[in-house]
């Protein structure tokens, strides 16, 4: 996965599984917003909300909206980020804030490192 957080609060997201693997529908890049939950001494915590769209497959013909919520800790000195993701899916026209209209969430953890020209 590639997660980009802009100074202006935008979040952009690309996933290696977008082609649709392990029986899941293919899905688009995701975009949305992030906010800082606190920072001190070069480390901090962020919350990210991402939205993308899935596409119909023979096995699962209904296109959906996907909402992903991240909470992650980062360390500027080491360049490491670790976090937890919650993925929810709902019919395409559902309000992404109405969590009760989404299916049961799936959780996973992630870790990674900040990209730069020198490490």
């Amino acid at each position: 996965m590639l997660l980009t957080l802009t100074v202006g609060g935008n979040a952009l997201f690309t996933d290696s599984a977008q082609s649709g693997i392990y029986g899941y529908q293919p899905f688009t890049d995701a975009q949305c917003v992030w906010e800082c939950l606190g920072e001190a001494d070069g480390s901090g915590k962020v919350r990210v909300m991402l939205l993308d769209f899935t596409s119909s497959t023979a096995r699962e013909p209904e296109a959906k909206i996907a909402r992903m919520d991240f909470e992650a800790h980062y360390n500027m000195e080491s360049g490491e980020i670790t976090g937890d993701a919650i993925l929810r899916l709902a019919p395409l026209t559902v309000d992404p804030y109405d969590v009760e209209n989404f299916n049961a969430p799936r959780d996973y953890s992630f870790s990674g490192s900040r990209l730069g020209f020198s490490r």
């Binding site: 917003v33 939205l51 296109a63 395409l92």
Partner: protein, 195 residues
């Protein structure tokens, strides 16, 4: 109930008294100013992005198109950065209704009018289409968006024009554009991180 601007909303649904009239008058003022500015000005005279700081953010948009009496819904996420970049993700990227599949889009936006919580913007967003048996030539797709964002009411409204050029063509050269264009309206609201 869904928040305003999400589904089936739009201009007609919004008329609810003096506050709405104020919104419409301000919108008209911003649009008049932006039209005046764009007709008389060169690119160097465009407003600084900071004048439209209220527009920086990400928006969940709804597109409603009619085709032979059939209503086609689509949703998009549009991100406008404070550096002037624009990014677009579309629920129709897989290639629906006989259209070619296409990638996420990237491009630029600019401020063409701003007043007291209203921002008028233009964006141009480029993506690439993929070959299909029905339409084997991959293309560049150019989407031009003119939109306003009312930060007080959290209403984003815009009109988009989509045109294509061959993959090796120049999407900024009108001569190289294919005949025909698609036009649609979008409406939506800004996305915030939930608590």
């Amino acid at each position: 109930m869904s928040p305003p601007g999400f589904f089936g909303g739009g201009i007609g649904v919004w008329f609810d008294g003096r506050r709405e009239m104020t919104r419409i008058f301000k919108l008209a003022a911003v649009l008049f100013a932006s039209v005046t500015a764009t007709s008389a000005a060169t690119a160097q005279d465009d407003l600084d992005l900071s004048a439209c700081i209220d527009a920086v953010g990400s928006y969940l948009l709804l597109r409603v198109e009619e085709d032979d009496g059939e209503e086609r819904l689509g949703r998009m996420v549009l991100s406008l950065t404070n550096g002037g970049h624009a990014f677009l993700t579309d629920s129709a990227q897989v290639g629906l209704y006989g259209q070619q599949p296409f990638t996420g889009g990237g491009g630029a936006w600019k401020c063409i009018g701003a007043e007291d919580g209203f921002a008028a913007i233009k964006a141009v967003i480029i993506d690439f289409t993929f070959s299909t048996p029905h339409d084997p030539q991959a293309k560049i797709k150019r989407l031009d968006l003119e939109a306003t964002y009312d930060a007080r009411q959290d209403v984003f409204e815009g009109k988009a024009v989509v045109r294509h050029t061959p993959l090796s063509g120049n999407p900024f050269d009108a001569v190289q554009m294919e005949d025909g264009k698609d036009e649609f309206s979008v409406t939506g609201r800004r996305i915030t991180v939930p608590d």
